[in-house]
């Protein structure tokens, strides 16, 4: 019962803030709504029992990536405010129509797969450690070590690339 209330409230907040992100005229308002959206998504993860992913969502997404967006918005906002949402333009109508088509198609797939259920999922795994963070850590360092190392290489390359790109020509 409490879980249902939590889910519906959080889902309403997530979708509401997402719509506000996409439709706000001022980019700084969009960024603020994005932060609130990510915090609601982290709360949703907590209700699902994924506390490590929730903490990483707040720490990396809301506390890192969106700060980066806010910095860039303020750096490019200085001279003149950019073009806002042009309601009723040809692009807007086509975009919304395509998005609606994707939503209808995905909903149809969801309903169809509900009616004809697939094969049962694999058995639950048993790991030597207990606790969400410990288990995720165990997986990251044993079964998924190679993707972990590749992700760290990716972050290093992205860091170097971003620094080189954003540096002033001296």
């Amino acid at each position: 019962m409490a879980e249902a209330i939590a889910f519906y409230v959080l889902a309403a907040c997530i979708l509401g803030f997402a719509v506000l992100v996409v439709t706000a005229k001022n980019p700084v308002h969009s960024v603020v709504f994005l932060v609130l959206d990510f915090l609601c998504v982290a709360a949703l993860y907590v209700t699902l029992g994924a506390e490590f992913v929730a903490a990483i969502q707040v720490l990396v997404y809301a506390g890192g990536i969106v700060v980066l967006y806010l910095f860039v918005v303020m750096l490019v906002n200085v001279k003149r405010p950019p073009e806002a949402f042009r309601a009723g333009g040809r692009h807007a109508t086509l975009g919304l129509a395509l998005a609606g088509a994707v939503l209808v198609e995905a909903a149809a797939i969801a309903v169809w797969s509900r009616l004809s259920p697939a094969a049962p999922a694999s058995a639950a795994q048993t790991l030597p450690v207990s606790g969400n963070t410990e288990q995720v850590g165990w997986l990251l360092y044993t079964s998924y070590l190679v993707p972990f190392e590749v992700a760290s290489m990716l972050l290093l390359v992205a860091m170097v690339g971003a620094i080189v790109l954003a540096r002033k020509e001296s």
Binding site: H29, V35, A55, A62, G63, G64, F71, M74
Partner: protein
């Protein structure tokens, strides 16, 4: 029902009130200590020895006119102090003030809650506190606050990395992310982590100074440099919120440092039986005493050291503290594996 809702609610009320009271009296403490360091007396007029000064300050700030700049972004202007204050207060949910007491026939633990990822929760919530500063500078619609807020937030996110790396070495030692678990592991290992992780301790303290915009890292809000920094355009109660948020952050950093490095509610030398008479003093008294030592250290450092220039500050954070923290982490990991 009582256990689930009423007791945590009571704990929240007690902790919040104590925090806000402590924050207001921190202002007085700072003024007094800096005055004594400068051979003067500080506030002495309001109440005996100036003890009622925070009341006068609070009344002044509440009765001041609430000015919003002409073309400021109203909603964001109002939101920024809230975004600065709320993370500082929300962190108190996981800080353990003591072990367990018996009140009215129940065992009440002296912390609001104990979650498995307590330390990660602390770090992630304080990283959301950056938004208050950036949005305050932006929404003031004025050059100086904008520049100051960008500098302040760049400083905050740089020192966040060094702090997080030191926390990882503490987690390596204790094997758990929960705050209560870290204190109990210090009890079971019989030593405060400050003695086996001295470099992490020092880096955490320096990073904590920078995270809370305290001297010597307080260039973003230095009155002489940037006409007040990111809260230039704020007056009255909103300014009070920023001010209180800074002191609340200071208390948070002190509490977290106490929990992680000074053994939380443990008495000094928890493994030495000879000193077990110190167990008369309850755990939460030790916690408050140790946090108070940190707060005094914050004020002492402010009264003593000159201010860092901005490029020196960034150089310290990126080129000195982060490599040291990584080196400490690698060393801790090597020693732990070698001893296992």
């Amino acid at each position: 029902m009582v256990e689930l809702v009423l007791i945590p609610l009571l704990k929240i009320i007690v902790v919040l009130n104590a925090t806000l009271l402590g924050v207001t009296y921190m202002v007085l403490l700072e003024r007094k200590v800096i005055a004594w360091a400068q051979s003067r007396l500080g506030p002495m007029r309001v109440g005996p020895y100036g003890v009622l000064q925070p009341v006068a300050d609070a009344m002044k700030l509440m009765l001041k006119e609430d000015i919003t700049p002409a073309r400021a972004d109203k909603w964001v202007f109002t939101l920024a102090p809230i975004l600065s204050m709320v993370p500082a207060l929300v962190v108190y949910a996981v800080i353990p003030f003591g072990d367990e007491v018996h009140l009215f026939g129940r065992r009440i633990s002296l912390y609001i809650t104990d979650i498995n990822v307590g330390l990660l929760y602390v770090v992630s919530v304080t990283s959301v506190g950056v938004y208050g500063i950036i949005l305050a500078g932006y929404s003031s619609n004025s050059k100086w606050p904008l520049l100051a807020s960008l500098r302040a937030s760049a400083q905050l996110i740089s020192y966040e990395i060094a702090i997080t790396l030191t926390l990882v070495s503490v987690v390596l030692m204790s094997g758990t992310l929960s705050m209560v678990g870290i204190v109990t592991s210090q009890a079971s290992q019989g030593v405060w982590y400050a003695f086996i992780q001295p470099m992490a301790f020092v880096i955490f303290f320096i990073g904590g100074l920078a995270e809370t915009n305290r001297a010597p890292f307080d260039l973003p809000e230095a009155e002489q440099e940037l006409t007040g920094g990111f809260h230039t355009e704020y007056s009255g109660m909103r300014f009070a919120l920023f001010f209180l948020a800074e002191y609340a952050n200071m208390i948070v950093v002190s509490s977290v440092a106490t929990t992680l490095f000074l053994g939380g509610w443990l008495r000094p030398f928890p493994n030495v039986e000879f000193l077990s008479f110190l167990g008369i003093v309850p755990g939460w008294c030790w916690f408050l005493l140790k946090s108070f030592i940190f707060l005094y250290l914050f004020i002492w450092v402010r009264a003593t050291l000159p201010r860092y220039r901005y490029d020196q500050l960034m150089r310290l954070g990126w080129k000195v503290l982060i490599p040291l923290a990584i080196a400490n982490l690698i060393l801790t990991a090597i020693v732990k594996v070698a001893l296992a």
